[in-house]
């Protein structure tokens, strides 16, 4: 009996410790930010978010995110199919390479782009001579974002694809469905949640990328700012409200995406069970 009571207390203590840690580390800072951003009420928050600079920054972030997400979704799907379905020399190496961007600091990712595509870079020299400007402009920012988000879709799709196997596809093929039709009607529906999760992570990471963009955008005054660069550049100025508002908006969008996808999946899966 005494032992039971002791373990019940131990249990409460552990729950308290874990919840307290979560609150102090994650919850309280998040709420503190929201409070600072909304200190003057909703109106000033909205005005700060709708300022010309903030809107331009969000527009740039969205355009970069759109391109990086589309490219890496297509690549991720194709590469997952290659990794799971094809046998070839060097497959294990290719499998490891795709994860590599996770091990690379964003700052180093930016540095690599500068030394390859920069004005004096390995390739950049020739590109600049031909009139293409990559680094310190939009293409460089897109490349940086693409680099850091390469692994997400592949990593999420590969395990689902492996588990799914090829039986159903073979049935479809025997029944006379073509390659595309089989892909659209059989393969894609079976991997959709892995794909959706991978895409969501890609979007969230693209929206929030900072270090690589900071290097690639250079330290030009009044440079083209993405949302994260806008936050970084304005926070120490006279009008930090814009930075706070943009922070809340950016974190909010990513979070709603992540949570929203999870909720939709639960609902759809529950629906399909019945």
């Amino acid at each position: 009996m005494g032992n039971d009571r002791a373990s019940a207390w131990g249990r409460r203590l552990l729950v308290g410790l874990v919840v307290g840690w979560f609150a102090a580390l994650i919850l309280v800072p998040t709420l503190a930010l929201a409070r600072t951003a909304l200190a003057g009420g909703f109106r000033p928050f909205w005005d700060a978010l709708m300022s010309a600079d903030a809107r331009r920054a969000f527009g740039l972030t969205l355009s970069i995110t759109a391109v990086a997400t589309v490219v890496n979704t297509l690549f991720g799907l194709a590469f997952a199919l290659v990794l799971v379905r094809q046998k070839f020399w060097g497959r294990a190496i290719a499998d490891g390479l795709v994860d590599l961007p996770f091990a690379v600091s964003p700052i180093i990712a930016g540095l690599m782009l500068v030394i390859v595509y920069g004005p004096n870079g390995w390739l950049g020299r020739h590109l600049e001579a031909a009139g293409f400007k990559v680094v310190y402009s939009w293409p460089g920012m897109v490349l940086a974002t693409m680099f850091v988000t390469i692994p997400f879709v592949v990593r999420e799709v590969v395990p689902v694809l492996r588990e799914f196997g090829i039986d159903q596809e073979e049935v479809a093929r025997t029944l006379g469905a073509g390659r595309w039709r089989t892909f659209w009607r059989v393969t894609l529906p079976s991997i959709r949640w892995g794909l959706a999760y991978g895409v969501t992570l890609t979007v969230a990471r693209s929206l929030g990328e900072f270090g690589a963009l900071l290097v690639v955008s250079g330290n030009i005054l009044g440079r083209t700012q993405t949302a994260t660069l806008y936050i970084h550049d304005t926070i120490e100025g006279f009008h930090p409200e814009g930075a706070y508002a943009a922070s809340v908006a950016l974190a909010g969008i990513s979070f709603v995406l992540l949570i929203g996808m999870e909720l939709v999946r639960k609902r759809v899966e529950a629906h399909e069970k019945h």
């Binding site: 580390l25 929030g208 270090g211």
Partner: protein, 266 residues
Amino acid sequence: MPALALRGSTLAYLGVMVVLPLAVLAAQSAELGPSAFWKAIFDPFAWHALKLTISTALVMVAINAVMGTATAWVLVRYEFPGKEVMNALIDLPFAVPTVVTGLMLVALYGPSSALGTVLGRAGLGVIYQQPGIVLALLFVTYPFVIRSVQPVLLEVDRGEEEAAATLGASPWMVFRRVTLPTLFPSILTGTALAFSRALGEFGSVVMVAGNRPLETKTGPMYVFGEIESGNRHGAMVVSVVLLATSLGILIALNLIQRRRGGGHGE
């Protein structure tokens, strides 16, 4: 034929996007020869930055190994109000951009905040000090150990634990002798991923660290500073060291998992 086209185009993308930049970085960092390479590493500022990055990452990993395992345990084994909400919010750090993380911590613990003023008076300055770096790292790596341990804990066979308990082992004894060995590979995976992430972390750290050379300047901050001031060689050498460390950890982890026959988690 389409199979070959698919393989060719995806491998080409990977080659241009990942292999080429890494190869150019490796080649150019070695261009000035080994002695220049060593000199750039042991430059007092570079060396201090590297040491600071490693030591803050180690402190973070030690805390995360314990708290992450405890959090996964509590989420899987116990019922308490708000559990579902907390479980959904574990991934919040993955959604928050790193600059925003830094901003949050400054807003809460910074010298101009109420809490920061109290802490500062007590001589426990967090922001613009080394503890601030650890705090930022703890925030951005919070989900790694939890999300690595949780699925394994869900699959654990409770029979062994119950048998041990019936034989008179205390709960702590059962955890240490029966549960912990099962969880160990997943704890290792989570901490290794967190460590690797911490070596490269920039956005959150740069906001809270205050960028003082020989005090709060980490490896990635040093690399950025050297790029800005035109010392590309120094930036590349420290980058190569950080990258090699991070890769070494991930490759070692992969080998350990393979030896264990697949292991757990990713």
